[in-house]
Symmetry: C2
Subunit: 210 residues, 2 copies
């Protein structure tokens, strides 16, 4: 599964590999399943090993603790070929990203929301989640480059703050405010960010330019 959010815990399953890759896929799938079903507090190495049908010593040796399991779950989720949609317009590309975020965060249960919650408990999960998001921002920069090339936004438009502006309202509404998922939100947030970008909101201030 490809996504702009860590919605899938079993990316490893699709990869070629021998017994080690299979064990990893089983353990990470069990980690994600137990996290969404029972929450962070119920997540133990022993319970994951049992749910995965893998010897607990194997899990302790390879992942050490719950933080290690969550970090590897996020690393596996990032180990895919995700690229932003190329719809022909910046607003369209950002809307597609936001639709993926809406789907992942509004899923019941939502692995994405469970991982965000876990990031407040486990420093390793927090670091891994941030690395996942930074990787997604970096990959999504091509949508901004295309918009510059098409003349939709000014040269020098910085991708990262534009991508944060486009996507942050989704996390604010759905994760922090717990609002009911609004199918118009992905497009509305995308449109606002694209309009701001076109007006030069994300180019460096004149004083900082060349």
């Amino acid at each position: 599964m490809t996504s702009s959010t860590p919605a899938s815990g079993n990316s490893g399953a699709a990869r070629p590999g021998g017994r080690s890759a299979r064990v990893r896929a089983q353990v990470l799938e069990a980690t994600g399943r137990r996290l969404v079903e029972q929450g962070y507090d119920a997540l133990t190495v022993d319970s994951v090993a049992e749910a995965a049908g893998v010897h607990r010593t194997t899990v302790y040796r390879r992942w050490r603790d719950v933080g290690g399991l969550l970090a590897d779950l996020l690393e596996a989720a990032a180990d895919d070929s995700w690229r932003p949609a190329d719809t022909g317009s910046l607003e369209g590309d950002l809307t597609a990203m936001n639709q993926e975020i809406l789907a992942a965060v509004a899923a019941e249960p939502s692995l994405t929301t469970a991982l965000i919650a876990a990031s407040f408990r486990s420093p390793e999960a927090a670091r891994a989640l941030r690395a996942f998001w930074e990787d997604r921002y970096a990959r999504s920069a091509e949508a901004v480059t295309r918009a510059v090339d098409r003349g939709e936004v000014p040269p020098g438009t910085a991708p990262r703050p534009l991508l944060v502006a486009a996507t942050a309202p989704l996390y604010q509404e759905l994760v922090l405010l717990g609002s009911a998922p609004d199918p118009a939100l992905p497009g509305a947030a995308a449109r606002a960010a694209a309009l701001a970008a076109a007006a030069g909101a994300f180019t460096a201030p004149a004083a900082e330019r060349g």
Copy 2:
């Protein structure tokens, strides 16, 4: 203390009142202090009662449990006279809001961040935090009304999505991504939202207009 975030746990202390108001102020101050110092897991009614110097039976009777304490802490924080700054421009007013958010979230320790973390553990804290934010959005709407009156943004500009767009990047960067506080962020996020608003990003689509 007035703030656009629940940064203060002792608003009750400033209110007139007799013994009951004093007990509430003491208990809520102790709740906030223990939450930021030791985290949600260490927060118990007994430990709060001890830290507040109040009999535990009093705390159980009035607040019932940790969720009740956190919800009342947020209610007390909302019980103030906060209004958005009136700087003469929408960008200025939004920047002032974002500077308050940056100060509250980047404080060490940060009660705001601790309450957001607690909202993932306690449904009562989550409901109270959402009510706090909705109250702040409602009060901040006057900054948008002023911008409409000045002709900075089109008539029909909806305050809430504009306010979410202006402030969400702060929570995304500082709380969810754990980025180092950037003193330019409050103004940059405010400017982007103001430019989007001026371009009509937050007016209802034509089909929905009367």
